[in-house]
Every structure is written in C-alpha cells, then in structure tokens.
Amino acid sequence: MTTTETAKTVKAFKPNIYQGHSFWRAAWRAITRKVSRVIGFLIIVMFTLMAIVGPYLYPKELPIDPNNIYAPLSWKYPLGTDFEGTSNLALIITGARYVLLAAALGALFTVIFGTVLGLIAGYFIGWSDSVIMRITDFFLTVPSFPLLVVLSTVWNFGHPLAMGFILGITSWGGMARAVRSQTLSLRERGFIEAARGLGLSPFYILFREILPNVSSYIGMNLLTSITGCIYAEVGLFFLGVVPFHVNNWGVMLNMAVFSAGAMSSPDALPYLLSPLLALLLLTLGIVLFLDAVDEIFNPRLREDI
C-alpha cells in the first residue's frame, strides 16, 4: 500500500457523531439539561427575535409626544418615555438590531482573526509565529477602548458592519494568543504527528484536525466576545462619540445621564434603567448559555451520548 492510498483511507473516516441532525440533538440535550441553560437560551432567542422583527413592529420614525416627556411607567409606556416622549420600550426593541448585529459581527471578527492567526502561528512556528505574535503583542499593548474612541472620531460607524469590524480588529489579540498556545500543545500530539506523517496538507491539519479540538474554547469565546463588544460599543455611544440614533442603548444612557438628569432626579430614571435592564438581561442570558456551549462543543463533557 502506498502512502497516498493510506491517506485516502484515513480521509474516508468520518466520525458520525459530529454530522447531521445528531449534533443538533446533542446540542438540544445539552441546553435542556439544566433550567439555567434554558433560561439563558430563551433570553438569547428573545433578543435575537427582537433584533430581527423589532424594527417591523413600529413605524420607521417612532412617534414623539412633547407633552409626555420622561413619563412614568404605565400601560401605554411600560418602560416610561425619553426626552421627546417616545416610548422607551419601543426604543429598546427597535434599537436591538444595531446593537446586537454590531456586537455579533464584532465577536465574529474577533474569533475569525484570533483563530486563524493563532492557528497559523502555533502550527507553523518559526518566522511566521514571530511576525504574527509581534503584531498580536502590538494590538494587546494598545489600549483598545481609547483607540476605539479615537477611531470613532475619524470613521463613521453608521452601519453595524463598520462598527463590528472595528470592534473585531481591536480585540482579537487575546484570542490569537490563546489559540496559538493550544495549537502549540496539540501539534505535538500523536494524532497530529500521524496526520503529518500521512502527508496531509497543513490546511487540512489546521482546520480539520486542530480546529475541532479548540472549537469549544472558540465557541465560548464567541459568546463572551459578544458581551465584550456590546459593552465597548455601548460605551462608545455613551461617550457620544459615534453617530446619534435615539434608539441606541448607549445613546439612551448618555442622554439619560447628561441631559435628563437621571442621576439627580427620579423622574428620568426609567429612561436610564431601560437600556441598563436590556444590557443586564442580555448578559445574563449569554452567561447562563455559556455553560451549554462548553458541553455542545466539547465531546468529553457529553455524558449521555
């Protein structure tokens, strides 16, 4: 048997457990194993739905009512109103799309940059490792939030893609370092040695052999990056350095503190608490759900499969 034929035989081996519906079934089992995971999952679903259908539930220009500025909680205004008498609930719901999309894209960019660069650096070592790690060090050393503040005065973040991209490129450093460490350890393991011995391409080894082994870490990082991105993004809006949209949660916090006097008078408190509540719920959902993600991506934790 030649080496090439051996390689073909190995390639044909496909572990069924990761394929098709069984992955989703395993995921579902992991989620439903604990009540806290279900709650986390439901919160995430709720916010995702809000982001997808929220803007269609209200007119494009939310109605204003100058006679009901900072109105108290009522059936008409379940979360009170803002500086021009617009319902805070409507602002939170319609604002979810930009906030979540930008955060999700930011997290995605973080994970993609971090994983790809970490894998390459850890696997190839040598000069590519040195170059990538020096760049990573540079990004890790530059304080990312102040950098974001500076960048936001130069670039317009009107579209969530732009915001997500900028959040991603400032926060991939830690991820790249962690993935590199794991790759360095994995590349010395027997199955990788074997794959190399079989003459498999580095691309195949990186993405089909090593990547699945760090996927649990990546999956969890994706979710924690989302919360990180939301904080960074809302922080930017809170400082008032990015485009003004009344329904952006950070803008709501900014207006509540700096022009509504929510810190000095209880009347405007609902305006401050509405976005805070949304942020708190979303973070809670993500934290509760993280536990399930670990199990979904880490086969060793699947007790009943």
Partner: protein, 603 residues
C-alpha cells in the same frame, strides 16, 4: 468640556455677549463666611496656569481678575457700566479718544498700587490676543499714575470704542511687562499700517505675525504667584475647588462682606445640578437643565430662581448653495412645518422660550427696537402644514404617498447638523427631524464631533442645514453680524466693507443670500451694508437700519429662529442674603461684581 453638555454654548454666549465680573470690598459682618459657586467659564484644572489669557487658566474674572469696568449688558441702556479698576471715564465728542481715571486706592494683593502702566501693558497684551484690534485701539498715552488716554487708530470711527475698551482685562505690569519686548508699541504701530507702500505693508505683516506669536507665548505663561487687584485672591487650588480669600488691599474692601469664595469643580452640568439640588451653591450661573431638575432644585426652599433676558437665540440655518435651500419659498415652507413650541419644550424647557418671530434678534431685544408698523408686516410662521404643502406644490415639489419629492423627482432628505455635547441642539435637531419626517421630508440629526470642527466645516460650506446661534448681544451690530457678517460673505477689511461670494469657499460665506434683497415694501436693500453701517452709528441712530434688517430677515429667512435663551440663575438664601436680584445689570455679571458693589451679606 465635551462632557459638559451645553457649557460650550454657554461659554460662547458668555464670551460673545456677556462681560462679567467684579470687584469687592469687605470687613464687616461675618468675615469668615464662605461663598460657594461654580466658575461660569470653565471647570477647575489644577495644572493650568494662573493666567487670564489661558482658555482654562486659574484666573477667575470678577473674583481675582479685574476689568476697567463691567458692562450691565442691557438693551435699554448699552452704556451702563459698573466701575471696576476705572473710577471714571469719558470720551471725546467724536468718540475717537477716551480718558480713563483709575480708582485712587486700587492696589494689587502685594500692596503695590495699580497704575496706568499696568493698564498700558494690559492693552499691549490685548493686541497680541487680537482684542484691541477688534475695537480699533490705536495708541495709549499715560497722563499720570492714575490717568490715561486711549485713541482709536487714525481714521477709526468705531462707535463702541470706549464701551469695548472698558471691558479689557487688567494684569500686573510687574508680572506681564517682562513678557513684552521693549519696542512693543512700535511693533503695534507698524502692524497698523494700511497704506499702499509695499515695504511698509510687508513690515506690517511681519509685525502682525510677531504679535500673534507673542500672543501664543503669553497664553502659556504661568506666573508663580497669583496677583489680584480684585476682591479676592487665590489661596489654594485642588481638583475639587479653587479657594479664594478676601483681598485686604482691594480698593473697596469695606464693601465686600464675604470672607472667602469656593469655586467648585464640575465635570458636567449634571454635577452642577447635584450641587444645586443639595443647596450647596450660594449662586448658580446659567446652566441648561430639564424640567425635572428645575423642580427638584426649587424643592429646596432657599433656592431662588432669578430670570433675566438674554440676547441669544438658537436658529436652524441654511446654506443656500445646497438645493433646494436657495429657494426662499422652500425655507418659508420649512418654517411653517417646524413647531417651535414643541421643539423648545423638549430641547430647552427651562432656559428657553420659543421664538415668536424670525427677525435676527431675540424677542426681548425686538421689543425695544421693532415698531408695531414693522411688526405687522412680519410673518410669524406659525405651524401651518397646509400652507407649507401648498407653497411646496407651487414650487414644483410633489408628494407621493407620505414622502415629498424634489421637482427633479429625487426624494427629499435632510441632515440637520448639531454638535456633540450640545444636548439642547441634539434634542432640538431630533424633534425638528421628527416633525419634518412626519411631514414627509426624511430628516435626521447628524452629530459633529466638536464645536471647533463644526464652525470650521460650516465656514467651509460643508453643511446644508445646521444649528446656529444668532442675535448674541443687545448690541445690534454684533447681533446682525451673526447673519450678515462673515457668514454671509461681508467682512470688514482695513475699515472697509468687503463682500466675498460663495464661490470662494475659503472666505466663510456659508449662507449665500443675494447681495440685494427686495422687500415687500418695495425697498431694495443690501443687508451687509446696513449691518456695517450699524458699526458706525450710535444706538439712537440705528433704529431704521435695525428694523429694515429685521424685516429682511423675516422675509428671506436665512435661518429659522427656534428658541430664545433666557438667563436663568439661582441664588440660595440659606447662608447669605442681599443678592442683587432686582438689578438686571448686576445679575448679568458674576458674583464678584455683586460683592464689590456691596451686595451679598452673610446671615
């Protein structure tokens, strides 16, 4: 200052429309009484020099920094002043010379007398800061230790010469004199040359550059000690406050009954609100606030609200280069769409009133200048959507569904430019955008990162629509020059009026009205010319021009006036009484001026 919401505006208002401060006296009563307030112009920055020419310097007008006199800033009596370091003043019949006599007992806080030389040095520094040129100051002659004569530049006809000269800051020659070269006055004289001799003109340019350069180094100068000729002297600075104690050498020390002053630091308006609500401030200067904060502040029974007029209005301005805003009828239609009451209610509920007329001045100023016969010709542009729609249709605009389309078939959208941190502009811009969008014009507020950037972009004709402060002052020249001055292409160059067309983007003409406007009365006028003439007239001669300009502004709507600011302040009567609440002129100045006039008594 970005965080400070509206304070940048306040500073602008203050710098352009208000002259502040004071002097004081003291000794009787409870001399340990500490008066707490916040400094109107800027927060405390412990690292900044104790220098009044530094933008954030730890030098506090009316407390330890003095002027020759303090303007009452009254529309009814523009020449009313409260004495500062000058005891008396007079001007020649043609207004080109002013004689100033200093307070005989004026002394610096080191016991040395304030002399005419201190004033001369201060006025030389005014040339390096560009302020002396703005009121045509030519030369200064010391007549005696306490008397000096100021003259306008040869051929100068500026009618507010004495008025502006009196409001100059005075600094000690012993500290600042050494910053100036010995030949400073010959440099100043060279810089004033306006003739056609090329050699002299080049020399003048060189002298002007030298002055600018000197000006920059002076703003950075950090004197080791704080010398004050005012009622107080700086004792210590920390990040929380500037603490000043009574200056025993102050010329009217017997009138000052307050022992010390604490100027609290603040990072934003919300911090001033907290101090106010807690009753910690004995006086609170003009601070933008929402209604809920006002309510809370007044819950403190000893907080007393004091309202006086201001001469500043906020307007929505148009660059007529941008289609379709060059069409007067379109601007009129927009004026009918904007519900100014609703905008003011949201944006400036406490310290504003909706503008009644678009006429280039606030309603309180207009009441002194505009006759009923002229007023009757003006349109108030009250909310009338049908009228707006019919005007637009007549101009070829079409409404399809909910949206208005331009005559060329393109949808109509509008960015309303506002400044980051100016929450009243942002909120106002948002409400106007909502009203326009509801009417069918897709509008949204766009925030520019800083006021400096905003002004630069505005001048460079980058915005079609944006907020603008107009009126600004009871002085009608200043008021109308906010529209028919540089923003509309009219500049004064070497004492002559020059017009720059909008085609030259470097000259700051961002309004772009035609030079000749035909009024409904049939009269053809040049608004830049009429405004320039105000500069050459005494107030009593200005009425015709003012009324014509107001009517032209109402008929051509270069900007839609949205709200007038009102000067709302608070005094707290729990620790002090005898506040000058009935004296509008004093209330237009800072508490140091009140104290030096004998007001503010500890309980």
């Amino acid at each position: 200052m970005k965080v400070i919401k509206r304070l940048p505006i306040l500073m602008l208002i203050a710098l352009l429309a208000i002259s502040l401060t004071a002097c004081g006296g003291s000794t009787s009563g409870n001399s340990n009484a500490k008066f707490t307030t916040v400094y109107y112009y800027h927060p405390i920055s412990p690292g900044a020099p104790k220098n009044p020419y530094n933008a954030t310097g730890n030098s506090f007008t009316s407390f330890d920094t003095m002027q020759l006199a303090w303007s009452a800033i009254l529309a009814s009596d523009p020449n009313k002043f409260y004495p500062g370091l000058a005891r008396s003043w007079s001007e020649s019949s043609d207004g080109t010379k002013a004689t100033i006599t200093l307070q005989p007992d004026a002394k610096w806080s080191n016991g040395k007398p304030v002399t005419a030389n201190d004033i001369k040095t201060s006025l030389a520094i005014a040339f390096t800061q560009g302020t002396a040129q703005s009121f045509s100051l030519g030369s200064v002659k010391v007549l005696s230790q306490k008397k000096l004569e100021l003259s306008q530049v040869p051929g100068g006809t500026y009618k507010m010469f004495l008025h502006d000269a009196l409001q100059q800051t005075v600094v000690p020659d012993s500290q600042y004199g050494k910053l100036l070269p010995k030949d400073i006055w010959s440099i100043i004289e060279q810089s004033q040359y306006t003739g056609s001799d090329k050699g002299k003109a080049a020399q003048a340019k060189k002298a002007q550059d030298k002055l600018t350069q000197l000006g920059k180094s002076i703003t950075q100068y950090a004197p080791k000690t704080s010398l004050s000729a005012g009622p107080f002297v700086l004792k210590r600075l920390n990040p929380g406050e500037a603490y000043l104690v009574k200056n025993k050498y102050f010329y009217a020390a017997n009138k000052v009954k307050v022992g010390s002053v604490s100027l609290r630091n603040y990072t934003g308006n919300q911090q001033i609100w907290n101090y106010l609500i807690a009753g910690q401030l004995d006086a609170t200067p003009f601070t933008s606030m929402p209604t809920n904060i006002l309510k809370n502040a007044l819950n403190k029974k000893t907080n007393q609200k004091v309202v006086t007029p201001t001469y500043v209005a906020a307007a929505l301005a148009f660059n007529q280069k941008y289609y379709p805003y060059g069409n007067t009828n379109v601007r009129k239609a927009l004026a009918y769409v904007i519900d100014r009451k609703a905008v003011q209610k949201v944006a400036e509920p406490v310290v504003g009133t909706p503008s009644r007329y678009t006429d280039g001045m606030t309603d309180s100023a207009a009441s002194q200048w505009i006759d009923d016969s002229v007023r009757s010709k003006m349109d108030a542009y009250n909310l009338d959507l049908n009228k707006a729609a019919s005007i637009l249709k007549k101009e070829g605009f079409k409404k399809k569904g909910d949206k208005w389309y331009l005559p060329d078939g393109k949808p109509w959208s509008m960015d309303i430019n506002v400044v980051n941190g100016f929450s009243d502009w942002i909120q106002g811009g948002k409400v106007i955008a909502s009203q326009l969008t509801k009417f069918g014009i897709e509008a949204k507020p766009t925030i520019v990162s800083s006021f400096a950037q905003y002004q630069a972009d505005m001048a460079a004709q980058k915005y079609a629509v944006g907020f603008w402060l107009d009126s600004l002052s009871p002085n009608m020249y200043t008021a109308f020059a906010r529209i028919y001055g540089t923003p509309d292409g009219y500049n004064v160059l070497n004492g002559k009026l020059v017009y720059y067309d909008q085609k030259d983007k470097t000259k700051g003409n961002w309004i772009g009205l035609p030079q000749t406007l035909k009024l409904s009365t049939g009269k053809k006028v040049n608004p830049g010319e009429l405004t320039y003439q105000l500069n050459q007239m005494k107030p009593e001669q200005q009425k015709d021009n003012v009324q014509t300009l107001a009517l032209a502004t109402n008929e051509y709507v270069p900007m839609i006036e949205i709200w007038d600011y009102t000067h709302v302040q608070f005094v707290n009567t729990s620790r002090f009484n005898n506040f000058p609440v009935k004296d509008e002129g004093l209330m237009n100045n800072m508490p140091g001026v009140w104290m030096s006039q004998g007001y503010v008594t500890p309980k």
